[in-house]
Symmetry: C2
Subunit: 373 residues, 2 copies
């Protein structure tokens, strides 16, 4: 598409008299066969924003371009975009919810992208439609290291039955999480029946992802005997399965030992309310060994929780959780972004730390100011 | 004091004609030597409410009656009482903060009261002034089972250098925690240099207590090999020390084994930012065996954290935490107690669960209504 604009770009370059030793000769003149009206037509098409109705009807037809456009609306900070996004989501809701949502976490270096590539390919090979999303609040700084580099999932990205979308960026985890959760709805309406949500295993984003998925998978590596050290207890407690990745080559024996260790550790946790007993397994995203076993474990989980009612119960709780969470988050944002409060808050933080005022009296003072303003 | 009112009480009893077979004879007539004017004087004294200034000056003199009165003000729900409470706390703040605050938790039956009795007696015997407070949000229902029955600390309650106050009651954990945290300030101003804060090891109250103490002690029992099962991971992770209680009689061997188990488990947790390595010990509140060792561990902790600056840093962070926590809690209360919101919330909860509206759209709708009202 950029070729169309080439002659114009060249003419700009050439309008400056070029006296440098590095003077370039004029390029080959572009043929006049590209009609001005075609260019105009294409540009108009690109400018044209489809309406909410158009987006909805194309999304439910399985159109990935419409899906991407709708997700871009959800991620926008503009108020008009958000309004339109809400309309699209509302229209998609009746078509959503019919999927399995799987959260995948693990510390950097554990091979999340390679695992998702191998796992995703396996899923499409058995007829699934797979969407890969991510929650990575750090991506606004690192410009989306996670999934940003789509070439890391070379095979999956070319797969017609797969859709990969990098993490939304945003100021807060709450914002990123909201955008991802709405993207799930859109993907489901677009016909994707297996949603993989990737996150890095280092912070609070696990809790956010855990509260938007049905199944939570923790990727690990066989380490030097101290596998349990690096992972936060809370994350292990959330896991429905632990998969020890890179169980190939010289690593197989160590991976098997790690599996035994993790299974022992998992037994120490209290019984889950899902009725499910989490288990550890090994796999290799390189040789594909164990990849189908992971899927078997997950289907076992879904069979169990759909039968005992936990699946539906959890989804309803999650929806309610996100409503309340959004409210609580926004109430705080409104308060702490208030200009007068911002000033007073700094003063009172210091006063509280120096024991000049009790924390509760300071809080009361700030709340009264906010109420009065 | 109740004796003064005895004749009156008797006259009420006798005013009913008693025709039962269990009829009692009249008691011995009380002498008329109790003058009506004395009674009047005492009653007036009891009715008289000391001013905030009087309370402050008496508290800093070490007057336990003034201390109790001030804590009652803090616990009151009346607005005028709260205003006065804030005044008293403000006046006490400059005298506060000079103590060691120790949180003590453990599941019911672990022997918390007996431990605190033995530990408190030991502390007063080495010259400490000990205040015992409690955070037990359930006490409003069970009418203060924890510490409510002061007779469970028969010895300590009679000790001049000890002060025992049952848990405040309240609708919410936040409310109970606030009251206890303000009571700490008052106790410190009254000269108590060691504050023990008891809580039950079954809920979120541990987190609240953990964020108001310098040192967190977890009481445990030697069980049947599955010691780790019953305790929530999060609570073990918070503990600066684990003490296996009831290490006496037939139980000694099992307690020692449990100590080894716990020490191994503690090593699995990541290094604490205090630089302190938590440890497990055994003790018997019955034979006093190990009680002084507990204190030695705690003083080691204080020496370390006062030297490395963690002690002060943590106290400042805690003060700030409580200010922000109170604000966040109150913002939510204001919102969710709003009559219009309460109605809309129920409707939207249902709509969200039935996928008629996205959680975020519902949240936005409620927030807009709140803003507009």
């Amino acid at each position: 598409m950029d070729l169309v604009l080439l002659p114009k770009a060249f003419s700009i370059l050439n309008s400056k008299p070029n006296k440098s030793a590095l003077k370039e000769n004029d390029g080959i003149e572009q043929p006049d066969s590209i009609s001005a009206s075609s260019v105009e037509h294409i540009q108009q098409f690109r400018r044209k924003q489809p309406s909410a109705e158009e987006l909805i009807s194309n999304i439910v037809k399985g159109d990935k371009v419409a899906l991407s456009r709708a997700i871009t609306l959800v991620e926008s900070t503009s108020a008009t975009h958000l309004e339109k996004a809400n309309e699209v989501i509302k229209g998609c809701l009746p078509y959503a919810n019919n999927s399995l949502r799987i959260g995948i976490t693990g510390v950097p270096g554990v091979g999340k992208s390679t695992f998702i590539e191998a796992f995703g390919k396996y899923l499409t090979s058995i007829g699934k439609k797979v969407a890969v999303l991510a929650v990575d609040p750090s991506s606004s700084i690192s410009h989306g290291s996670i999934l940003g580099d789509k070439t890391r999932m070379e095979e999956l990205v070319k797969d017609e039955n797969a859709y990969i979308r990098p993490s939304a960026s945003g100021e807060s985890l709450g914002g990123v999480a909201r955008k991802t959760r709405e993207a799930i709805i859109l993907c489901e309406a677009c016909g994707f029946d297996t949603i993989l949500i990737e996150t890095v295993g280092v912070g609070q984003s696990e809790t956010a992802v855990h509260s938007m998925v049905d199944f939570f998978l923790l990727l690990n590596l066989a380490g030097a005997g101290d596998e349990l050290q690096g992972i936060k207890r809370g994350i292990m407690e959330m896991a429905d399965a632990i998969v020890i990745n890179k169980a190939d080559g010289d690593n197989i024996k160590r991976a098997r030992l790690a599996k035994v260790d993790f299974n022992r550790a998992l037994h120490l946790f209290p019984q889950k309310s899902s009725g499910w007993s989490p288990k550890a397994n090994t796999c290799s995203a390189l040789t594909n060994e164990g990849i189908s076993d992971v899927w078997e474990t997950i289907t076992d989980y879904f069979t169990l929780t759909k039968e005992n009612g936990y699946f539906d119960k959890k989804r309803k709780e999650q929806s309610q959780y996100w409503m309340l969470e959004t409210i609580n988050e926004q109430l705080k944002l409104n308060f702490y972004n208030h200009p007068e409060i911002q000033k007073l808050l700094e003063e009172n933080k210091k006063a509280v730390q120096n024991n000049e005022i009790s924390p509760f009296a300071a809080a009361q003072l700030l709340l009264n100011t906010y109420k009065g303003s």
